[in-house]
């Protein structure tokens, strides 16, 4: 069953609609990521769930109990929802131990033991418990903020871009550690981020948000391979979008006849391929003979960047594209391993792996 249910949430700031009808169900024990460009309303949504602000319309329910609707709002301090803010928001006037123990009662049994246990769980050294927040690094501050929120034993944890202040290497390891930690503690988690890779790798369920609405909600794999529109497709990664004629599970396009994930029949459609679905193999001009449906191209650009190499390939024999005049012969831009990338002027054979996705 779903732990958190949002239905029809709206929120306006003057003339600006920050949220414009949000519906979402979050399963107990799952991880959800809300991802979108900055200004799309994702932080506002998080603040409504936490109870820092009240929605104009709609309903928020946690475990069947209404937290906010037209009748009234449960204030943040009675919700029992943990929050980790972007920069940790540690209390500068308290030690780390007092920060972690902030939500506990002063006379709670074994308060000190629980604090050091929490510090241990989030991977903090016991020695820093006596220090002040400003003496800690960014990553340590985030761990303290997490421990502080976990001390409340919340059923739901909200993470507001908690990794964005960290440098790249630390970010990935923190993300993995936090995901495992919260899963181990059985805490349902919602992560807000503008980083699509972070969202895809962190969550079981991803919601792509734009202009105060969810464009699409689903598993990371579904969103990546079957985005509802070009915006979602390009937000989640590089995409090759081509015009095509679709019939009986195949598309006729610039790349010839390739399988698609839809069985309908349409004269004008757009299909999407991820660049990694296009495979290239070195050959020569002499080797270009073969069956007519084989596809060849010439490398026109090659940009080496260490592990990957960005290669631009211009098709040499495009077979009957539906509106070739409109698109011209734009090169396909692909990322290939840097160790064995073809050089400019080389001839390659192109093949397609898997199915292309047809936009609805």
């Amino acid at each position: 069953m779903s732990l958190l249910e949002l239905s029809g949430l709206t929120k306006r700031y003057g003339p600006v609609a920050a949220l414009n009808g949000i519906d979402l169900a979050v399963q107990a024990g799952s991880r959800t990521a809300i991802v979108g460009p900055s200004g799309c309303g994702k932080t506002t949504l998080l603040r409504l769930i936490a109870g820092f602000e009240a929605p104009d319309n709609g309903r928020i329910a946690l475990d069947g109990h209404t937290l906010a609707d037209e009748a009234g709002v449960v204030p943040a301090h009675l919700r029992g929802i943990g929050v980790v803010a972007q920069d940790g928001a540690l209390f500068p006037h308290l030690t780390i131990a007092d920060n972690i123990g902030f939500g506990m009662r002063k006379d709670e049994d074994k308060r000190a033991e629980r604090i050091s246990e929490l510090a241990y769980i989030v991977g903090l050294d016991k020695a820093i418990l006596k220090r002040r927040p400003h003496q800690l690094s960014g990553g340590q501050q985030q761990r303290v903020a997490l421990a502080r929120a976990m001390a409340m034993k919340p059923r739901l944890m909200l993470l507001d871009e908690p990794f964005s202040a960290l440098d790249t290497g630390l970010r990935a390891s923190m993300r993995k550690a936090v995901a495992e930690l919260l899963e181990g503690a059985g805490i349902t988690t919602i992560l807000v981020t503008h980083d699509q890779a972070e969202a895809l790798s962190f969550a079981d369920q991803v919601a792509v948000m734009r202009d105060g609405k969810f464009s699409q909600v689903g598993t990371p794999r579904d969103l990546y391979l079957k985005p509802v529109n070009r915006m979602v497709a390009e937000f989640l990664g590089d995409a090759i979008v081509l015009p095509a004629r679709v019939a009986d599970g195949f598309a006729e396009c610039q790349l010839g006849r390739i399988p698609v994930d839809e069985n309908g029949r349409r004269e004008v459609a757009r299909i999407m391929l991820r660049p990694e679905q296009l495979l290239i193999k070195r050959t020569t001009r002499q080797g270009m003979s073969g069956t007519p449906d084989m596809l060849f191209g010439e490398v026109v650009e090659s940009e080496f960047a260490g592990a990957t190499c960005t290669v631009a390939v211009r098709l040499m024999n495009n077979s009957n594209p539906p509106d070739a005049a409109a698109i011209g012969n734009t090169p396909l831009v692909l990322k290939k391993p840097g160790t064995d990338a073809p050089a400019v002027g080389e001839i390659v054979r192109i093949s397609v792996a898997g199915k292309a996705h047809v936009f609805g």
């Binding site: 820092f52 209390f91 500068p92 006037h93 902030f102 400003h134 409340m152």
Partner: protein
Amino acid sequence: MTSAAASGGAYRGRTLHRRRYPVRWIAACAVLVSAFALLPIVFVAVAAIQAGWSTVAALVFRPRVGDLLVNTLLLVIFAVPISALLSIALAWLTERSDLPGARLWSWLSVAPLAIPAFVHSYAWVTMVPGLHGLFAGVLISIIAYFPFLYLPLSAAMRRLDPALEDSAASLGLGPWRVFFRVVLPQLRLAICGGALLVGLHLLAEYGLYVFVRFDTFTTAIVDQFQSTFNGPAANMLAGVLVACCLALLAVEVLVRGEERYARVGSGAARPLQRARLGWLALPCSLLLAAVTCLSLGVPFWTIGRWLVAGGSEIWRLDEIGLALGQTLFLAVVGGLLATAAAIPIAWLSIRSPGRLQRMLEGCNYVVGSLPGVVVALALVTVTVRTLPFFYQTMVTILVAYALMFLPRAIISLRASIAQAPVELERAAGSLGRSPAKALWATTIRLSAPGAAAGIALVALGIMNELTATQMLAPNGTRTLAMAFWNYSGEIDYASAAPYAAIMVAVSLPLTWLLYVQSKRMAGR
């Protein structure tokens, strides 16, 4: 090879010399200014030594001093905490609630600073003639001085990171507990600084307490000075007063502690959310209206009433014009002098912080806390004994102003020098300007607005200064404050009213400047 190394060494030696050069002469100036500023303390110590222990004991350990001590303590104990509570409430209402007209109320909470404390007192006494003693002293002190607490508190409240309050709420704390456990601790520095300022003003104030017939050390010293001129009795009272000021400084250091509550983290703070007052908006507005009535309504109404009652004959324009001219002269020249004296210290504290700079800063901090009456007494003694040709001259009174208001000038200058990047000064140096010229062409030019603000604040102080002016000014000097004081001393309240009106009118724009500056320092 050898010659190359030798020439390289010589070259390095020369650059080293050139680099140290500006710091050294500026440091020398700063030490000189600070040493001079220590004069009042040295004077108190020397006076005590010269008088001998038995005289000191006889003059200090007597019931009169005990009474004064009790009076002064009671004043501080009542007026400072009540001012703090009032200021916290006002700052919260104007900065953190959705009270209608918050910006106007905020300005009205600072505006009482434009009215000299003795004019507040004059207004109250002429409106409620029976007002006197401790109650009157505490009441008028709060009304005249609470803005010194309100200013830093409202600035601190604006700066608070709202994410901390959100975090506390998500950790299960209700609004009241959030206020006491998260908001209040972060206001500690502002409360300590403001309370110290108010306390020091209470110790230094003279005119206010004379009107309500409440004796403090300062009024007693001036009485003593007027009856016996420069006797050991006045000097010893000054010694006790200095001890009180130092005690206040020590208490503040103890309470403040070593903590600095820097904002942790790097993200941009989201704008503060204002609390919804709902039906409480009405009583809260009434509180602000009541404070405004007491702090602005009473003085304006009283001054207005006396102006109307006096008619046109109280506007003796030649006399008033002379007083205004003298006051403006003293204020502007004193402001320039204090700011010029502040440049080396302010420059050092930003460009070359170190042990010397910390020592000088501490020294100026202590001296800045000394009441005008002590500074005046010291200068009277020194000029009479060793430099008689300076006694009761413009030079002495201007020096006294510079000493008394040096800290104000330093604070304004320091803030603006901090905003002029040192790289510019270095660039000017690398383009061939000598250190002094580089300083002038870059840092001093860029910090000119801050210096102007500093001059204005010092001028504001000088304009409303009464005690030291009375004791030090050359014969024939009659500033606005002195003229006001003489007339009201003769119970000619109507004739005093134009002077009060002019002082308030000139001070209002300067107070506005202070208000704008405090807003800007808070980043808005």
